[in-house]
Amino acid sequence: MPVLAIFSALVIGAVVIVLSDLTFFERLRADPALALGSALDEVFRAYGALFTGALGSPSTYVDAFTSGDTARMTQAFVPLSETMLSATPLIFTGLAVALGFQCGLFNIGAEGQLYVGAMFGTFAGFFFAGLPWFIHLPLAIGFGFLGGALWGFIPGLLKARTGAHEVIVTIMLNYTAYNLISWILKVPGYQREGRSDPISKVTLDTSWYPVLIDGLRANWGFILGLAAAVLVSWFLFRSTRGFEFRAVGFNPTAARYAGMSIASTTIMAMTLSGGLAGLAGTSVVLGVTHSLTFGVSGGFGFDGIAIALMAGSKPRGIILASLLFGALRAGATPMQSITGVPIDLVVVIQALVIMFVAAPALVREIYRIRVPETTGLETFSQGWRA
């Protein structure tokens, strides 16, 4: 099913590429066959660039390995490394959203939690000087988690205490977080000395995620993401507390009858979810940019929703889905560079993928597949009920 969903999304994306090229219509009037041919050609060139940009091209790998030159070999892996790098924050935000889903909560606030996590992580990164990396890095990561957790705790608390729907509160907190980091980046002591623009101090290199292979940008943040996925998986499906999360998610009334506390589970789930999103923030500032500006998130929080949906909120699926979205992001750069198709196309494709994934019946209808409907994860609250 996911394969068909991706396929359908790519097909519609191709239509969008063609139709948004205004010269297409002129050419169509002049010579339909030629116009269609060149449109197809453009689509294939765009998608070709997207794929080689995400995975590397076979010929480059062959050339690099036959040359035996380590630098060239490393260079051949750049696309893969970029895919992993782009996937890293997505794994965290995907896990964040999925953890919420499993507990019946729809956390649209991963974006804001990422901001606050990045804000805290950056602070730890430049503030604690003189620590060895094996203390400093975990400390900075912990700060990032804490920041995100704080930003997740608020909607959790409000939901548990007042019934305020987490969807609206988290969206509003996204905007608030954005303004918050815009502000803190101008605060002396946080802002980099000698700069008038909003940028933080540079984090110390002891707080950086080490790269996996010299010459590539992919770093241990990715490994942490995998570890987080394993941990979340254990937590949800093996641990005692996770049992409560899922019970509350599937049927809060029954969970309450069984003596579980809905309020504390809700608060805890939002807090953990926020913490995971905060880790996504650290994967950017401690893994890539090494300092904070307000452009820290390129919609990672929203992609996290798509990823969690695609993966049915299962951690293993989240890794795969993140790699897919990471590949789309990584490949988008060469696609734009080589064919001039704007990177926003990727956003369109992603939205389509979620749509097809979230409505399996739709895909089934399109492809005339007859399978009995298996009950998906339709747990999160309906309407605005608390």
Partner: protein, 352 residues
């Protein structure tokens, strides 16, 4: 007419729409030199510096036949990726736009000493040998525009707002505007209030983003309500909110364009544009590309100033008749004084 020395090289003005035409049909034969531009997260349709820088690229292409291309950035982590993409495509020169790319440009320049870089709105101290920082003394041009505005203002109240308080690229305009008004007051003994920005405290009115024209309009309506009759919005499209507000209130008020001459690039509001504060990113980018093609050694910092015509103010167009000859003379004098260094915008940040 306005007192800005017209730059000799670039077309006098150009709608951003020109860029595509230039890509489609270069006027001169293509050459092997490849100049590549990385935008910041605003994207090259930001009606502001990305777009303007891209215009410089395409102008260079039209003139010299250089191959140009661009990459938009979606997020901060894209900067290095985009620069690396161009490095792998063997671009001869990479232009990065905006201070946000400062760190990424520095790292890439260090790793690729043979590639030439130019960065808009940023300069390194100490300098990096293969990077040119392109910076602008925007406040100088804005001061002249502020002076002209203060002379035009009937209510002696003006307003200015920005997108996000990101410092220089936005607030230099606002600083100069206020300084111009203060300078006017000092000369004439008037008292002009400039709402929305305090150059000393560095606080004021901002829309919170570079896209919400509606928020720009909200602030402008506020200025109008407080009796302002000259408004300058800084930050790409949000500045158009000022004109939308004036139109809606059908107020006897004018607005200022920024970066380029909005009389030409935003023609739907031309009847309301007193002048524009020019920051000729396109000219400096084009010049930087030409220096790259010519192979001259990179300058550490290339400052666009009033003196070299890199900043300034646009002609008054429809309002030419409303600016007295005396004022124009005073503007010329002020311009000479600034060029000579006898008047500095920063001396007039505080009200006299």
């Amino acid at each position: 007419g306005g007192g800005t020395p017209a730059p000799s090289t670039a077309a006098p003005t150009g709608t951003p729409a020109a860029s595509e035409a230039a890509v489609a049909s270069p006027t001169v034969a293509p050459i092997a030199y490849k100049a590549c531009m990385v935008s910041d997260t605003g994207g090259i349709d930001d009606h502001a510096f990305n777009e303007n820088a891209w215009k410089g690229m395409t102008d260079a292409q039209a003139k010299t036949g250089v191959q140009v291309k661009f990459l938009e950035s979606n997020s901060e982590s894209d900067y290095a990726k985009n620069i690396n993409q161009f490095i792998s495509e063997k671009c001869d020169m990479i232009v990065t736009v905006g201070f946000l790319l400062g760190d990424a440009t520095k790292a890439a320049a260090a790793a690729n000493p043979n590639t030439r870089f130019a960065i808009v709105d940023y300069a390194y101290t100490p300098a990096i040998p293969n990077v040119e920082g392109l910076v602008y003394t925007t406040a100088e041009g804005a001061m002249l525009a502020g002076y002209a505005s203060a002379s035009w203002s009937k209510t002696h109240t003006m307003g200015t707002f920005g997108g996000i308080n990101i410092g220089g690229p936005v607030t230099d305009f606002m600083d100069g505007f206020v300084a111009g008004a203060h300078y006017y007051d000092k000369q004439k003994g008037t008292k002009t209030t400039v709402l929305g920005w305090d150059p000393v405290k560095k606080t004021g009115s901002f829309t919170g983003d570079f896209s919400s024209i509606d928020n720009g309009k909200t602030l402008s309506l506020g200025f109008l309500d407080e009796n302002a009759d000259v408004i300058m919005g800084v930050g790409g499209p949000i500045g158009q909110g000022a004109f939308a507000a004036i139109q809606e209130r059908s107020a006897t008020a004018v607005g200022l364009g920024v970066d380029v001459d909005w009389y030409i690039s935003v023609p739907q509001y031309k009847s309301l544009i007193l002048t524009s504060v020019l920051k000729k990113i396109d000219v400096s980018v084009e010049a930087a590309v030409e220096r790259g093609i010519a192979g001259t050694a990179p300058q550490a910092v290339f400052v666009s100033t009033l003196a070299n015509g890199g900043v300034g103010y646009a002609p008054f167009h429809d309002y030419d008749s409303q600016i007295t000859a005396d004022t124009k003379t005073e503007l010329d004098a002020l311009q000479q004084a600034i060029i000579a260094g006898t008047v500095k915008p920063s001396d007039y940040f505080a009200a006299p």
